[in-house]
């Protein structure tokens, strides 16, 4: 994908061209935009573009993409707004030492986001989903010198990352339930998922990811905190694109998961609560960006609510609002950044009378705010009309949704104008920097987006044909024609709109009092999910530290004890529990020398146990090993015994060397109780192995492999020694892996020895302390 390539070269270009690189780099998303715009005709007629290639066919994994109305609208929003954002950040971060890195991150994000919306296979969807979380983390934490920035970045990463895991689980459940790993075939599967017993599990998991990503209550807290990011990031990721990924997911899955009681309860409920909470919290803020951030939360809630309602009208409304919101919110954020950039503050209480100083910004802001407020002639108006058309004749508890929607919209209206109108009116006040109009790179974005909101509404038949209808159709899963136009027509929706606007004006005028009231309420509550997040995180850290202390306590003997108890348990428990104990073996008549070898082995073991010094114990262990090697020899495994001899010799040598190096006390000084425990564990392991081997030998022996190897070892592989032929020829790849392991182990031991040799000079070894 093009943006990734762009990201690679961005730092270099920026070094050469300074902030002007933004203009050139904007060509990347522009090209993508043009490319996707070229598909408008095909997709608009209801067809879907899809392609891909096999990646791991044996696992049913494909690298494939799928483009229908919904994906295409998203792709165009991402690349279109992306173009403006890249230009904007060229001006916004002018002279910033890490501007190149910033461009790189933002292009990376763009690539990930595009990948997300065009993904067909679940795996790709998940990978891109996580990529957007990671790039968002990088962008929020871009100003990594600041504590708040780092905290916000981490918070966003953890919350959305948690959602990502939930998505992975959800997708796996869906794949399990329907047997497909591709969205395109999933969409064609009809009721398969809805009727599956796993439906509810899948729904909860998928919604978990969508709600965290799209900042639905109670996960909304990360989004306002993410405003620590530079404004272009807030405008792009946290209003226009990334946070809509959750909405995208919900919309995408609506045809196969929607239209159930659970869906139509959970989504409107969470969406409605988010809408209410978002707008109320927005009122509380005085920072331009934070006000916008909370209205974004509210808008996302509105989108989720509409998608959840699931009627054709609701989906039309969701599609329209999705497009409208991306445009006006992106523009307003850029305006907020512009004001911040040119005046040095974005506190609404200190900003007045900027309209003379910043006329272009004022126009752009008003265009966006009019759309946000849903006034006629703007795209936001269309969206709002459809919303009220959906909720206009409420049944039962949907009336609550209508009230929430009206109040929410009214408050958003108020806040939109508080951001776009209030700073510009009245007498000029003193600001940290003398207010002046920004350069073209800064005001281009908001003006274009604001004007687009107007143009799209005026040319609504074209906009509907190209964007709204295909999007709505894709969300609904059946063709929908969006017909609404800007000419107001009398009816319930218009009345409701009027009511909203009236309420909005009242709220705008009384904003200061409302804010004070909200502040009082919030103080009274005193606790929010944001603090909750910190508490959970602290608890988690404490838990992790505690666990590590218990498990990883630095005492080798405890590690060994635990390991061998586990080994003994794995060996013995299944056999005992499932009643698979082997029958008592028949003892063959052994020759006297075979008894002799066995006796040597037993003596060796006895000597180990009785040895007074460690060195004697090691050598005695060698005796036992040699005896076993002899047994191999006697019973027809010369290769094995050969190797066993060598391994025994070397291990005795190396163990002896290690022992002398560790400067251990020459004798064993464990207390008796410890000795008995260790003995019991060792005995359990030994008995476990013996029983397992007996059981295995008592199974019917399948000798097809041995026959094959015996037959073909000479003819195919030119060797009479079957064992060796297997090692170097038939299973050569295994051996290659094994010797690689041998070598890596050798390196690791070498490193360990080196580290220890340095440390021993400073302080006594841990083993000695123990």
């Amino acid at each position: 994908m093009l943006p990734f390539v762009g990201a690679l070269f961005a730092p270099l270009l920026t070094r050469v061209m300074k902030h002007n690189a933004g203009w050139l780099l904007a060509a990347v998303p522009l090209l993508v935009f043009v490319h996707f715009a070229g598909m408008l005709g095909t997709v608009g007629s209801g067809a879907a573009v899809s392609a891909g290639f096999d990646w791991a066919p044996s696992l049913g994994l494909r690298f494939s993409w799928y483009l229908d109305g919904l994906s295409l609208t998203f792709a165009l929003l991402i690349s279109g707004i992306g173009t403006l954002i890249v230009i904007y950040s060229g001006g916004y971060l002018k002279g910033h030492p890490h501007q190149g890195r910033f461009f790189s991150f933002i292009l990376l994000f763009m690539g990930a986001m595009l990948g997300l919306v065009v993904s067909d296979s679940f795996l790709m969807l998940f990978v891109y989903w996580e990529l957007t979380s990671i790039t968002s983390f990088l962008l929020i934490g871009f100003d990594h010198g600041r504590e708040a920035s780092r905290r916000a970045a981490l918070q966003a990463l953890l919350v959305t990352g948690l959602g990502g895991l939930s998505l992975l689980a959800g997708l796996l459940v869906i794949a399990q339930a329907t047997g497909t790993t591709e969205l395109s075939s999933l969409l064609g599967s009809g009721d398969a998922l809805r009727n599956s017993p796993l439906y509810l599990v899948a729904l909860v998991l998928v919604l978990g990811s969508a709600f965290t990503k799209s900042a639905q209550f109670p996960f909304h807290f990360w989004l306002p905190n993410a405003m620590e990011a530079p404004t272009p990031v807030s405008a792009y990721l946290h209003s226009a694109t990334m946070v809509k990924a959750g909405v995208y997911l919900v919309m995408r899955l609506n045809p196969v998961m929607g239209d159930t009681v659970a869906w139509e309860t959970i989504l409107p409920l969470f969406g409605g609560v988010t809408l209410a909470v978002g707008t109320l919290l927005a009122v509380r803020q005085t920072d331009l960006k934070l006000m916008l951030a909370y209205t974004t939360v509210a808008s996302l809630g509105l989108l989720v609510m509409l998608t959840g309602l699931g009627s054709d009208k609701a989906i039309e409304a969701a599609a329209l609002y999705l497009i409208a919101h991306s445009m006006f919110k992106g523009a307003l954020f850029m305006v907020a950044g512009l004001i911040d950039h040119e005046t040095g503050t974005r506190d609404i209480t200190g900003l007045r009378g900027l309209r003379k100083a910043m006329p272009i910004t004022f126009v752009a802001a008003m265009l966006a705010a009019l759309s946000m407020g849903g006034l006629p002639l703007f795209f936001g108006f269309l969206a709002k009309e459809e919303i009220y058309a959906t909720l206009g004749s409420p049944e039962g508890w949907q009336a609550a949704l209508l009230i929430v929607a009206i109040c929410g919209n009214a408050l958003m209206f108020a806040i939109g104008f508080a951001v776009a109108l209030r700073p510009f009116m009245g007498d000029a006040t003193k600001t940290p920097k003398a207010a002046h109009e920004g350069p073209i790179s800064l005001w281009l974005g908001p003006v274009v987006l604001g004007a687009a909101g107007l143009a799209a509404a005026l040319a609504s038949p074209i906009a509907h044909r190209l964007f709204s209808s295909p999007t709505a159709s894709a969300v609904a899963g059946s063709p929908i024609e969006v017909t609404i136009s800007t000419i107001p027509h009398l009816g319930v929706p218009l009345v409701l709109s009027g009511l909203t606007v009236a309420l909005g004006i009242v709220a705008y005028l009384g904003l200061d009092r409302l804010r004070a009231a909200m502040a009082g309420v919030l103080r009274a509550i005193g606790w929010g999910p944001d603090q909750g997040f910190d508490q959970v995180l602290r608890g988690l850290l404490r838990l992790a530290t505690g666990l590590t202390r218990i498990i990883h306590n630095g005492r080798l003997d405890i590690y060994m004890t635990v390991t061998f108890i586990a080994v003994a348990a794995t060996l013995l428990l299944p056999m005992v529990l499932f009643d698979e104990l082997p029958a008592m073996p028949y003892v063959p008549a052994l020759r006297f020398y075979e008894w002799g070898v066995l006796a040597i082995a037993v003596i060796g073991v006895a000597a180990v146990v009785h040895a007074r010094s460690r060195l004697t114990a090691i050598v005695s262990l060698g005796i036992q090993g040699f005896a076993v090697a002899l047994l191999y020899m006697l019973f027809g495994a010369p290769d094995l015994s050969f190797t066993q001899f060598m391994v025994e010799t070397l291990s005795v040598v190396i163990l002896a060397l290690v022992m002398t190096r560790l400067r251990l006390a020459p004798t064993d000084h464990r207390p008796l109780r410890q000795k008995l425990l260790d003995m019991a564990i060792a005995g359990a392991c030994g008995i476990g192995f013996a029983l397992l081997l007996l059981k295995v030998t008592q199974m019917p022996f399948d000798d097809r492999l041995s026959q094959f190897f015996n037959t073909y070892s000479k003819t195919i592989a030119h060797g009479r020694n079957v064992v060796n032929v297997i090692i170097v020829d038939f299973r050569g790849l295994d051996t290659l892996g094994e010797i690689a392991v041998v070598m890596v182990t050798g390196l690791a031991i070498l490193a360990l020895v080196r580290i220890r040799s340095k440390k021993t000079e400073v302080r006594p070894t841990v083993a000695e302390e123990a």
């Binding site: 190797t643 030119h718 170097v728 020829d729 051996t735």
Partner: protein, 139 residues
């Protein structure tokens, strides 16, 4: 270690063991033996030599760092799998040829290269562990 007998016997022992290890390596395809066993024998030879004469002597005699030897072995084994690709066969398929030297037919194969690689990895890894452990006796 300062035992006279040990110090006198060690050079012969080392030579014998090294020769034997190569012998074991080469006969491996038809008789008990092979790269792994051979490698272990050679590694113990170096370990013994190190105990008798000190690590620096062995390091000088080896010339290469033992880990480098192991690395080369791994490389050789991996490369031994490549020629079969040229003939359109799967990776690591054994190729054989039997050129005759002075009238004696000798079986040569990529499998042998592979086994020599195994041998070198084992020699290198175990020798470097043993030497590293012995080395610390002197510091």
């Amino acid at each position: 270690m300062q035992t006279l007998i040990f110090r006198t016997a060690t050079p012969f022992l080392t030579c014998l063991m090294l020769m034997f290890s190569v012998f074991v390596l080469l006969r491996g395809h038809n008789e008990p033996g092979g790269g792994f066993t051979g490698g272990l024998i050679a590694a113990s030879a170096f370990a013994i030599h190190g105990i008798a004469f000190g690590v620096p002597v062995v390091r000088r005699a080896l010339y290469f760092h033992p880990m480098a030897i192991a690395g080369f072995g791994l490389f050789a084994s991996a490369v031994a799998g490549l020629p079969s690709l040229l003939f359109g066969m799967p990776f690591l398929t054994g190729l054989w040829s039997a050129p005759s030297f002075f009238g004696i037919s000798v079986d040569l194969s990529t499998v042998m290269v592979f086994d020599i690689g195994v041998y070198l990895v084992v020699v290198g890894s175990f020798t470097s562990i043993a030497l590293a452990l012995e080395d610390r006796e002197h510091d």
